[in-house]
């Protein structure tokens, strides 16, 4: 019900957006007008398909703040980062590390959450890592949107993940995977934990891939 | 009824280089559709070429030749205005012949 009404409202708005000229606003619209028209146009242009519903267009603070060709103001960025940091759920029983072999499989897997995927459950999702990062040296087909993660743990001096000296980097890495926006408001990296893309066990496997001295990433 | 081929035959010295694009699914029979049932094999098995009606090439293909196949070969002694005809036949018995003029 509720949603139907808003949809009608949006459709009306969209009509205005697309026939702006006819309805006589031939004078240049202001940036604020255009923002509103763009939003209405976007909402009116998409429809539900499979697991991908139109509510995916409802932006939270961070998404809205990072939707321009310029970064948000510092105070907005700080608010986004503070909210993100507060959202991080630390692993049950302080158990951070899983199996790097499983982590590699997840890192290779770029599937999940599209309208052609049947389930939105974490078990149906990959971690997408190689799309944007170099990780294991043997995989030459890697992206460069994110930094190389080859030797991630080694370069940060992680010799034993259980060693208290390793705690800061271990926790930072978990936080980055859970909600990347905690450390950069407009990071391009998905919020794997916060957005329920991956579950704790899957995140543990990725942690192992990056930090376990036995992982090929750190050889 | 299958779509026409694209055949280009260009003279280079005493021969003509022939480039052929064929419109065909080249379905291996190993893939499954959305419903999970196997898509039956459907692919070109035999390809032949004639220069002015005289056979110059025969070839046999498997299902691992790419969809919308490309073939390049050179016909000796072909001259401007000669006719190059290419024929394919698939595993369903469907066949198609197209002709191009050497330019």
């Amino acid at each position: 019900m509720q949603r139907k009404h808003t949809l009608f409202a949006l459709a009306a708005l969209a009509a205005v957006a697309t026939t702006g000229l006819v309805t006589g606003c031939a004078s240049r619209p202001t940036p604020a007008d255009l923002d509103a028209q763009a939003l209405a146009m976007i909402k009116a242009s998409f429809r539900d398909q499979g697991i991908a519903k139109v509510d995916r267009l409802n932006q939270d603070l961070g998404q809205a703040a990072c939707s321009a060709d310029k970064p948000p103001s510092d105070d907005v960025a700080l608010r986004v980062e503070a909210e993100a940091l507060a959202s991080i759920r630390w692993p049950a029983g302080g158990q951070y590390i899983g199996d790097w072999r499983e982590g590699e499989k997840l890192a290779q897997n770029g599937r999940g959450m599209t309208w052609t995927d049947s389930s939105a459950a974490p078990s149906a999702n990959g971690a997408q890592c190689y799309n944007c990062h170099q990780i294991g040296k043997q995989e030459i087909s890697f992206g460069t949107i994110g930094p190389s993660l080859y030797n991630y743990g080694k370069m940060r001096g992680v010799k034993d993940v259980a060693d208290p000296d390793s705690a800061p980097i271990v926790q930072y890495t978990w936080g980055k995977l859970w909600n990347s926006k905690a450390y950069a408001a407009c990071s391009n990296m998905p919020r794997f934990g916060h957005a329920r893309l991956l579950d704790e066990q899957q995140l543990r496997h990725l942690m192992a891939l990056l930090l376990d001295p036995k992982s090929p990433v750190n050889q | 009824m299958a779509d026409p081929m694209r055949i280009r035959a260009q003279v280079a010295g005493d021969k003509a280089t022939v480039r052929v694009l064929m419109s065909h699914e080249m379905e291996t029979g190993l893939r499954k559709d959305a419903a999970g049932k196997a898509i039956p094999a459907w692919y070109i098995q035999e390809v032949s070429a004639k220069l002015n009606g005289k056979s110059v090439l025969t070839a046999e293909w498997g299902a691992s030749v790419s969809k919308n196949p490309f073939l390049q070969f050179s016909v000796r002694g072909a001259k401007l205005g000669d006719k190059v005809a290419v024929t394919w036949k698939d595993n369903k018995g469907d066949t198609r012949t197209d002709e191009a003029t050497v330019s």
Partner: protein, 152 residues
């Protein structure tokens, strides 16, 4: 250059391939040689041995990319300058059916053909020349197939 052991192992592979394909001296078939295209695995091929030992030859040329951006379309060319070649073949070692294409060479065409093949994974690709005198010559190269796009 490949060392001798590698040479021999390649020769052996190609021998088993061709034996399975039934293309060694037993002569050429007129109709579509379905069995030749039904070979599923190297192991299957290994069962049926026979025929002359293929030798790697610089006179047979195989053109193809080192890396294929997409395994659905891999451009491959086979050619030889040797006289007396009867057939030119394209084989992809790790495909479900190893034989991709087989060209009869006549005096009316150059022994030089290019086409495009599907590759399920990175694999060795062989260009094989069957000579009139029964000799079997080949060239080979590895083509890496990369995972593209978003893997989705």
């Amino acid at each position: 250059m490949l060392n001798r052991r590698k040479m021999l192992s390649h020769s052996a592979q190609v021998a088993t391939l061709l034996a399975g394909v039934g293309l060694l001296p037993r002569g050429a078939q007129a109709a579509y040689n379905a069995p030749a295209f039904e070979i599923k695995t190297m192991a299957e091929l290994a069962k049926s041995l026979g025929g002359g030992t293929p030798t790697e030859s610089k006179d047979v040329a195989l053109t193809g990319p080192d890396i294929a951006e997409n395994g659905a379309v891999v451009p491959i060319g086979v050619s030889t300058t040797l006289p007396g070649v009867k057939k030119l073949l394209l084989l992809v070692e790790k495909n479900p059916s190893v034989l991709s294409a087989m060209f009869d060479v006549t005096d009316a065409v150059d022994a030089n053909f290019s086409t495009r093949v599907k590759m399920g994974q990175s694999s060795n690709v062989y260009a094989v020349a069957l000579m009139a005198d029964g000799k079997v010559l080949f060239a080979q190269k590895e083509v890496k197939v990369t995972l593209g796009g978003c893997g989705g």
